[in-house]
Symmetry: C2
Subunit: 171 residues, 2 copies
């Protein structure tokens, strides 16, 4: 099962760090690819630097036709929105399908057309919070936490410690 | 069990949106209070506006002595850091304790002293990603997903829908 994350409504400057966090969360929690709806090379560079240093097969790219991308996606299209159905009610259904998934995250100003283009509108709770958090909780639930045990083969690797920091470099 | 989130290393301008997301995630996923180590009124105002509209008992305040705050906290002090022990290995232990919890999140430049001031250094995976995501996954794991069913009594309330948006206002 491949997971692609589509980040809509990216605004340059204002959203650079949020979109970068989205990319890093996608990579660290088991997604395969991030697509932004605006060609922000700074975000691409920041995420790419992490991939280069810490490993993994993560891809990041841009689209100027997000509607077409959603329509043509060959798998399940899931929009994370606080207006949707609480994930607690539908998680078992979502996990039952092994289809590839497109996870769409917008933010405050998501274009209204999105709701009807997707297969599911899912809420990580029906309260306003954060698209970064929504993506993280969704992936953690989907993979039942096992994504946090995934090994990445990178130049850098952390040796987990109960105190302090230990990083192996240039292995 | 009360949950307080301590956000260290908040930098004005650069971190406004990230710290706001942290506050909103803390509130929406079952924490009771956010403390920032810098008196940023914009962040306070943004989080407070959500509390005012959407309800709940969430508090937000500042400290100029985060070391003292950690030392004096009467409960379990848990630092979320990618250098720590993977949460998958210690979640059962953490859940077994019903003590109040102080969740400390820093970011890239967390002061080195933090690691030895706390009871546990816990990694939401040992890969770089996002303090917003780390907090969200931690709370979702701690409360076993039940936090997303919590009812907030606010002026606004979402009626979950599989398509589109429905919000009740000024109930």
């Amino acid at each position: 099962m491949k997971i692609t994350v589509l980040r809509l409504g990216h605004r340059f400057i204002r959203d650079k760090r949020i979109s970068t966090h989205i990319g890093l969360v996608a990579r660290a929690l088991g997604a395969d690819k991030l697509i932004l709806d605006a060609p922000d090379d700074d975000v691409k560079r920041s995420v790419w630097k992490v991939v280069e240093n810490w490993g993994g097969e993560f891809e990041i790219c841009f689209t100027d036709d997000w509607k077409g991308y959603i329509k043509d996606f060959g798998g399940e299209r899931i929009h994370l929105t606080m207006y949707g159905i609480n994930i607690n009610e539908v998680l078992d259904d979502i996990k039952a399908s092994k289809k590839d998934k497109l996870i769409i995250i917008g933010g405050e100003k998501v274009p209204p057309g999105v709701y009807s283009l997707v297969d599911r509108n899912i809420a990580i709770g029906n309260q306003p919070h954060s698209e970064v958090a929504a993506l993280a909780v969704f992936l953690d639930r989907l993979f039942e936490g096992k994504e946090l045990n995934k090994k990445f083969e990178g130049k850098k690797m952390i040796v987990p410690k109960s105190r302090g920091k230990k990083v192996l470099n240039e292995r």
